[in-house]
């Protein structure tokens, strides 16, 4: 039956004749191992064709999908990694076998007449195989393939005349993109394999025509191809396949046996997705091109073309000429030597390239003197660091693609989110964990430290360094004692490790830490030349360590002063965890909504509620906190440290919600949302930094993993963070707004700068009422009524006068007015009235002009002035205050010119001035004092003049 079928087919197809011809080729002197390489190459090619077609079915060539489809093959498709692995390693095996095949052909002189043409066909096949390797390397579109192939196509431009056009045609444009992939793929899967099939067919046909170039040994019997040579070939092919399979599983046989092969041992490596904007410092070609890569290092300058084009060209030419050279016996020996040298040379160059990259290990195993090879070691270390970073990115992208989000409503993890249409590179570019720290280093680390309490910094981070003063170009300045002199102010901003956490906030409320500054011991320069010179500035760079305000203008600012003044309130007893300071810390830190503290925040509800209350009491005369306090003097504490707050602060710290004019040198990184190209850092990148600082990034080990904020959310958040009051838009077509009048401006200035503590309202409450009235009501300040009020035992400590300030319990209120002036007889009352008259006359208010004139003429003014120096029961006014010639400055504000324009202006400008409160000043900012450093004053001189006039009720034009 079978026989009948065979005969039927044979009659029509002539199969048995073909098979007979194929199998019964005569081999003089019999089958040999050395003849197997040709069959192995055919076998390898068939394997590549089969695995390649399967890969083709799953591959999608475009810069948005190439990496993604290969990732899918590698990690998701059944057997995908195996097929890809075999394709990858068989390609390399093919190159090795091809080299052996060529060596065998030349060694045995199989290129000689009449086989010259077949030899040339072989050379063409070799070029095709190398071309397949080159084009295939790019297709996964990972960083490695992208950058290595970039170098290869750049080198193509070195070819004279046509080079640049060739490069353009290969790349499909000026830059790498979709068409680079479509073209490379068409070459790799279409043109080159088709040519290879054609040339292979010719090669084999000619081989059969001329027969094998046998190595004849007399007495060794002839064989046919079948069965002995076929057996040898089959063994060769199986061994080849076995080796390739071992490579595919990274020689992890036990892993395969246990059915538990780790991901890293599954087939070919896949790097991070190609990113043209991301430098890749470990770019190396596939190993069989390393010898060419290494060769380039030896041709300096414009001789590069020799290494890249001329030498390979010469080698190819000689290979081409081998049949001619081999006509003479000497020529044949030359050919043998040449091919051997070529292969040996390639092996040596490859070895050199590898040993340079891994020199760190080479030096260690050879026990080389490391000081002599500093440069090589440094280059090798750089390479290893870059390779590690590349591996890290490759691992991370896999985590990111498989990311799962915690669905709070369902109470479970989502499906893996896989890749959006923007591609895998988008995932990595927007990963705070890998990109955030790098961006922080780039944009923030020149001022901000990032160091944990144990003194550890992330890889690549270093402390801030301060350079010494110079006394010459490369010489440090030394003082009389020979100590190196450093410039007085080191720059630097708070350490942002754990920003917003309880530990961080506890630190800034610690009187010792808040303006602490320390210097590290300078380290000798890494450059031995500089290290040898004791006075070289490189040897005297010292680390500047300041956890908080240590190096900023805020060091002596209101916050630091307040913290020091309230040391007793803020004193932290480590053994207790429910003190006021604990409550404040917990409440403020809760605003940040850090994931790392979510547990604590949810269990400490009562403590936090108490802290909120305390913050509203103690902090809102400067800070806004929810509906308490107001903006203008200090950063908003509403949402302090939250994503929204931080995005607002980092994008524009000089915004009124944050530091306003008090901002010390921190750049507005993304102020202009309408023109993103004008910003120093994009909002997207700021979001990465903020997410990294706050720990808002995907971590597969988290129980409730989160995804970072998207660029769109980041943009919206910044807009939201800046919305502090009513919208500022104007109606289209509406008449332009009237320019602000002086009166309106004065009221606005008062509201923005003073009304947090001071009211300016009459007894009925008309006017501006402070949100949190704690300082004197300034309505009618300087008038007789006001002066009488502060001298009234009942009123002095009331809300309109010394109200909620520390002066409430001070000498003036408690020891003088409340005792000396209380329960007085009519005589004393008259004296108080006289004092008020005289004091008020100092102010020379426009509204009191007539009254003051009257007082002058009836002599009550003179009497009042005298009364200021007269003693009551225990004190006189001038015991503490200076008034005209009586009394001294120092213990209380000067009463000379009290309430006058000049007095008010000076007071507002600087209440800490020796003429006023000095150290006794309670929280009132020095509105007119600039600095320290480039910090502007809160109010300009003109604005202070205007405010003073307005408070005094002067007419404003």
């Amino acid at each position: 039956m079978i026989r009948a079928l065979r005969e039927w087919a044979d009659d029509r197809l002539g199969l048995s004749a073909t098979i007979h011809e194929a199998l019964y080729e005569r081999i003089p002197s019999g089958a040999r191992w050395r003849y197997i390489t040709g069959s192995m190459l055919v076998f390898a090619f068939v394997t590549q064709a089969v695995t390649g077609i399967f890969l083709w079915m799953a591959y999608s060539p475009s810069s948005q999908t190439a990496y993604e489809s290969v990732w899918y093959i590698q990690h998701q498709m059944a057997g995908g990694w195996l097929v890809r692995g075999v394709h990858h390693f068989m390609a390399q095996a093919m190159v090795v076998v091809m080299a052996l095949h060529m060596l065998q052909v030349v060694w045995d002189g199989a290129y000689r007449k009449p086989r010259e043409v077949n030899y040339w066909l072989g050379l063409v096949l070799m070029q095709l195989v190398l071309g397949l390797g080159l084009t295939g390397y790019l297709l996964p579109w990972d960083q490695k393939g992208y950058w290595a192939t970039n170098v290869a196509t750049n080198l193509a431009t070195l070819v004279p005349v046509v080079g640049k056009d060739v490069q353009q045609l290969a790349v499909g444009g000026n830059e790498y993109g979709h068409h680079t992939l479509t073209r490379f793929f068409a070459m790799h899967a279409g043109v080159l394999p088709a040519l290879l099939v054609i040339f292979l067919a010719l090669h084999i046909a000619l081989f059969r025509k001329h027969g094998i170039t046998a190595k004849e040994t007399p007495g060794r019997p002839d064989d046919y191809f079948w069965p002995r040579q076929v057996l040898l070939d089959a063994v060769g092919c199986l061994v080849l396949l076995g080796i390739v399979l071992l490579c595919v599983v990274h020689f992890d046989v036990s892993g395969v046996a246990s059915g538990n092969l780790p991901e890293a041992h599954k087939g070919a490596e896949l790097g991070a997705p190609a990113d043209p904007s991301e430098a890749y410092s470990a770019a190396r070609p596939e190993w069989y091109y390393l010898f060419l890569f290494q060769l380039l290092k030896y041709f300096p300058g414009s001789s590069e073309v020799i290494g890249a084009i001329v030498l390979p060209g010469v080698a190819m030419t000689i290979l081409f000429l081998i049949p001619f050279i081999g006509r003479w016996e000497l020529g044949h020996q030359f050919n043998r030597a040449f091919v051997l040298l070529l292969l040996l040379g390639s092996v040596v160059l490859t070895g050199l390239a590898l040993s340079e990259d891994y020199f760190v290990y080479v030096a260690k195993s050879l026990k080389l003197d490391e000081t002599k090879y500093e440069k090589q070691l440094a280059a090798s270390r750089d390479f290893l660091v870059a390779r590690e970073a590349a591996e890290h990115d490759a691992h991370r992208i896999n985590e990111l693609i498989n990311r799962r989000e915690w669905l709070a409503e369902e109470g479970e993890l989502s499906e893996p989110r896989l890749i959006s249409k923007q591609g895998a590179v988008h995932l990595l570019r927007n990963d705070p964990k890998t990109r955030g720290s790098r961006l922080f280093k780039q944009h923030c680390a020149s001022c901000h430290d990032y160091v944990d309490p144990e003194g550890n910094r992330p890889p690549g981070f270093s402390p801030l360094l301060q350079s010494p003063e110079l006394a010459g170009e490369t010489k440090v300045k030394r003082d009389d004692k020979g100590e190196v002199v450093y410039p007085p102010a080191a720059s630097g901003a708070p350490n942002l490790y754990g920003f917003g956490s309880r530990a961080w906030i506890r630190g800034i409320l610690n009187p010792e830490l808040v303006s602490k500054i320390e210097y590290g011991e300078p380290q000798p320069s890494a450059d031995p030349e500089h290290a040898a010179e004791a006075d070289h500035p490189e040897n005297h760079l010292r680390a500047v360590l300041s956890p908080y305000y240590g190096n900023t203008n805020h060091q002596a600012g209101r916050m630091a002063t307040w913290v020091k003044q309230h040391a007793s309130l803020l004193a932290d007893d480590q053994t207790k965890s429910d003190e006021d300071v604990d409550a404040i810390v917990a409440a403020l830190s809760a605003q940040a909504q850090l994931r790392s503290q979510a547990q604590q925040d949810s269990t400490d509800g009562t403590l936090i509620a108490r802290g909120v209350d305390l913050i509203q009491q103690h902090c809102t005369s400067c800070h806004r906190f929810g509906d308490h306090g107001q903006l203008g003097l200090a950063p908003d504490l509403t949402g302090y440290g939250s994503y929204e707050w931080m995005m607002g602060l980092v994008s524009d710290p000089a915004h009124e919600r944050f530091y306003g004019k008090g901002n010390d040198r921190m750049p507005s990184f993304a102020k202009d949302l309408a023109h993103p190209e004008r910003n120093n850092v994009s909002v997207r990148e700021l979001s990465l930094i903020v997410d990294w600082l706050r720990g808002d990034y995907y971590e597969p080990t988290d129980e409730q993993p989160v995804l970072p904020h998207t660029p769109e959310v980041a943009q919206e958040t910044v807009i939201l963070s800046r919305t502090v009051s009513e919208p500022r838009g104007s109606l289209v077509g509406a008449p332009p707004a009237e320019p602000e009048t002086q009166l309106a401006k004065a009221e606005r200035l008062f509201e923005q700068n003073c009304a947090s503590c001071h009211s300016h309202a009459d007894t009925a409450g008309n006017g501006i009422v402070a949100k949190n009235p704690s300082a004197p009501n300034l309505h009618g300040f300087g008038s007789r009524t006001w002066a009488l009020g502060i001298l009234d035992a009942e009123k002095v400590a009331g809300p309109d006068f010394l109200g909620n300030t520390r002066h409430k319990g001070g000498q003036m209120a408690q020891e003088f007015v409340a005792t000396d002036l209380a329960d007085t007889d009519d005589e004393t009352k008259a004296k108080i009235a006289l004092i008020a008259t005289a004091l008020s006359a100092e102010a020379a208010l426009p509204a009191q002009r007539e009254l003051d004139k009257e007082a002058e003429s009836d002599g009550s003014l003179e009497k009042g002035r005298e009364a200021l120096s007269e003693s009551f029961e225990t004190y006189s006014c001038t015991d503490c205050h200076k008034f005209r010639d009586a009394g001294d400055l120092g213990s209380a504000p000067d009463l000379t010119g009290w309430g006058s324009q000049e007095w008010l202006v000076e007071f507002i400008t600087n209440p800490m001035h020796e003429r006023f409160y000095r150290d006794e000043n309670d929280r009132m900012p020095a509105f007119g004092v600039a600095g320290p450093g480039p910090k502007e004053a809160l109010l300009s001189p003109d604005e202070i003049q205007l405010l003073a006039k307005w408070i005094r009720g002067e007419p404003l034009e």
């Binding site: 470990a282 440094a378 750049p667």
Partner: protein, 152 residues
């Protein structure tokens, strides 16, 4: 179709579209360290990849370095074979990770060097500099030659 990239380039050159390369803003002047340490910044422009065009994408990177009141600007691409040059803070050198070309801070190569020329300096707009902004004329050059030639 196959020759499209070349035809496209020729057409562009003929119509003169290629002549004026725009200056692009890359950084604010005060973002550069005063001590002359180079800073790597991306160059943003519309990125065209065949049928895709996206605004404000990184199309390359430059190193900026403040020297007195001037700013030096170098293309971050190595003039040897087109790798991405790194800056080594420890050694105060530009170093190419591929074929070990290294360059001094002012972009001159350290001989012997695989690189045929110094790093490619790019023009910085003086008038913008006075306004406190760094605008550079971003050009990629063909690597591998002593004379530099702009890529289209």
């Amino acid at each position: 179709m196959f020759l499209d990239p070349i035809l496209r380039r020729k057409k562009k050159a003929d119509t003169g579209e290629d002549s004026g390369r725009p200056f692009r803003r890359v950084a604010a002047l005060d973002a550069l360290p005063a001590d002359g340490t180079p800073v790597q910044v991306p160059v943003l422009a519309d990125l065209t990849d065949a049928w895709n065009r996206e605004p404000n994408q990184p199309v390359g990177a430059v190193y900026l370095r403040k020297v007195g009141d001037q700013v030096e600007c170098f293309n971050a691409i190595c003039p040897h074979a087109g790798c991405f040059v790194a800056y080594s803070v420890d050694r105060k050198l530009f170093q190419c990770p591929c074929h070990t070309s290294s360059f001094q801070l002012d972009g001159t190569r350290i001989l012997p060097s695989p690189s045929p020329r110094d790093m490619d300096d790019l023009k910085v707009d003086d008038s913008k500099l006075k306004e406190g902004e760094v605008w550079v004329q971003f050009v990629n050059y063909y690597p591998g030659h002593e004379e530099r030639e702009a890529k289209p």
